[in-house]
């Protein structure tokens, strides 16, 4: 067993739509496999608007969903979305249950050991959220020290809290809560059970609006780099998708998707 604090959990996962099985991916011939199947299976954790969520008709919607569908179109294959817990995604792509992960995921060194990442398709910022009537002032991330704070299990934000607040003694371990889902953390902020949560900026904005929360700090100090699509290590699909993303950035497709989902 590799003992690697910081490694992302290995949880396999599965489809939500259809029950046809996907053959395990040989990461090298992935491109051929996807083309042969005529289908790209993308895993996500659909509780993260505006990147990914489920609309009232049960359809997967959001920035990431539009993007991966556009990529699929370019590749000439259909896109099938599979919903699963965020901390199961990496194991799922390793085991070939899904071809790619698109879940507002950031490339961190620990994750990079487990999977390959494409180039970034979107820069990223984090946000500290507090209750609507919160009087806390968070001028810099470290000001969050000593407060009760939550984040989603297995995210870079959770790791940042552990590494920069708990390990430094600013916050005690039992002031930190790990949630299955980001919106659960938001509900706890709203009900006052925790003072703060640390989360990606864009979902923070929509969670704040809908739960009456306040963005206390937008920062890129807690995070490096942007969102990427993850693939199995050594996949030959990476170069292809990198190329498509670059193309989209050049021809304004990304811009259009952004606007369609209300993102700046």
């Amino acid at each position: 067993t590799a003992v690697q604090p910081g490694a992302v959990p290995a949880a396999p996962a599965a489809t939500t739509s259809g029950d046809e099985a996907v053959a395990p991916a040989a990461s090298d011939g992935q491109m051929a496999k996807v083309k042969a199947a005529g289908k790209l299976v993308a895993g996500t954790s659909a509780d993260y608007p505006p990147y990914e969520s489920v609309d009232a008709d049960g359809k997967f919607v959001g920035y990431d969903m539009d993007l991966i569908r556009a990529i699929g179109e370019k590749l000439g294959v259909e896109v099938e979305i599979q919903d699963m817990p965020f901390d199961s995604l990496i194991a799922a792509v390793q085991q070939g249950k899904i071809d790619v992960i698109i879940a507002a995921m950031q490339a961190t060194p620990e994750r990079d050991e487990q999977v390959d990442f494409t180039i970034e398709y979107r820069p990223t910022k984090d946000a500290f959220l507090g209750k609507g009537d919160s009087t806390l002032t968070i001028a810099k991330p470290e000001d969050a020290g000593g407060k009760t704070i939550g984040a989603q299990t297995g995210t870079v934000q959770e790791k940042w809290i552990q590494d920069n607040l708990v390990a430094t003694g600013l916050t005690s371990a039992d002031q930190v809560s790990s949630y299955e889902r980001a919106d659960q953390a938001a509900l706890d902020v709203a009900s006052g059970r925790i003072e703060l949560m640390l989360i990606d900026a864009e979902p923070a904005i929509s969670l704040a609006e809908n739960n009456g929360l306040k963005v206390l700090l937008l920062t890129s100090d807690t995070t490096k780099g942007g969102k990427s699509i993850a693939l199995p290590n050594g996949s030959d699909l990476k170069a292809e998708i990198d190329k498509i993303i670059a193309e989209f950035q050049a021809d304004g497709t990304i811009q259009k998707i952004q606007e369609a989902n209300g993102l700046p």
């Binding site: 396999p12 996962a13 599965a14 489809t15 029950d19 049960g58 699963m84 085991q95």
Partner: protein, 216 residues
């Protein structure tokens, strides 16, 4: 009025998960049934080795929370065969239920009187034939009340597979909650759906019990 409207839309969205919930429950019960019968027969009629396997399975699995079993099985299953969340979750739940069903069938098998086996042997049935044609059909009827109880427990435990991403009632309630930011509504609807489902199940099982009761 707005309230009613909201309730109806929420309900309509979540109720679709009912089929998945029922599917998970049925698959889990069926898998548990097969495992339970095998392990139950092994415990009562098997040699030391088989009985030992049956006992270990039943004792260990019953001592561990179903959700932990689901996670272990989910990871193990999915590293061996490629299954959807639905199948992995249902199979795992079935594996857990199998341990409880083992006990149910063991009890029922043991309450079939010894004379039945002797009589079956006396007309030339092999041991296995006797178990299949004489002992099991009686044991199954005797097991029905306890099995019905287990069925409602599995129905309720099927919510646990939401944790591995199966879009059953609870997972769909979570979708609604994430979209509408109204957890109260989402969970109320889910609770009502389950209540209805267990009440109906209980009724159906009770009727089955009356119908198939063994006249002794």
């Amino acid at each position: 009025m707005e309230f009613v409207q909201k309730f109806i839309t929420t309900f309509q969205f979540i109720v679709e998960g009912l089929w998945v919930t029922i599917g998970v429950t049925v698959v889990a019960l069926a898998v548990g049934f097969v495992l339970g019968i095998l392990a139950g027969v092994a415990r009562v009629y098997g040699n030391k080795f088989l009985a030992g396997i049956g006992t270990t399975y039943s004792v260990v699995v019953r001592a561990v929370p179903v959700i932990v079993i689901i996670f272990i099985l989910f990871f193990v299953i999915s590293s061996l065969v490629d299954l959807t969340a639905f199948w992995a979750g249902s199979l795992a739940l079935g594996f857990a239920s199998g341990a409880y069903q083992t006990e149910i069938f063991r009890g029922a098998l043991r309450s079939v009187s010894g004379g039945q086996m002797t009589a079956a042997s006396a007309i030339g049935m092999s041991r296995w034939q006797a178990i299949r044609h004489i002992i099991l059909p009686q044991a199954l009827r005797l097991a029905l009340p306890a099995w019905g109880n287990e069925a409602t427990l599995v129905l309720k435990d099927s919510t646990l597979v939401f944790a591995v991403g199966v879009p059953e009632v609870l997972r769909r309630a979570e979708y609604v909650k994430a979209r509408t930011f109204d957890p109260f509504f989402a969970y109320s609807v889910a609770l009502l759906l389950y209540l209805a489902l267990t009440l109906v199940t209980t009724q159906v099982l009770r009727q089955a019990e009356n119908r198939y009761r063994l006249r002794l």
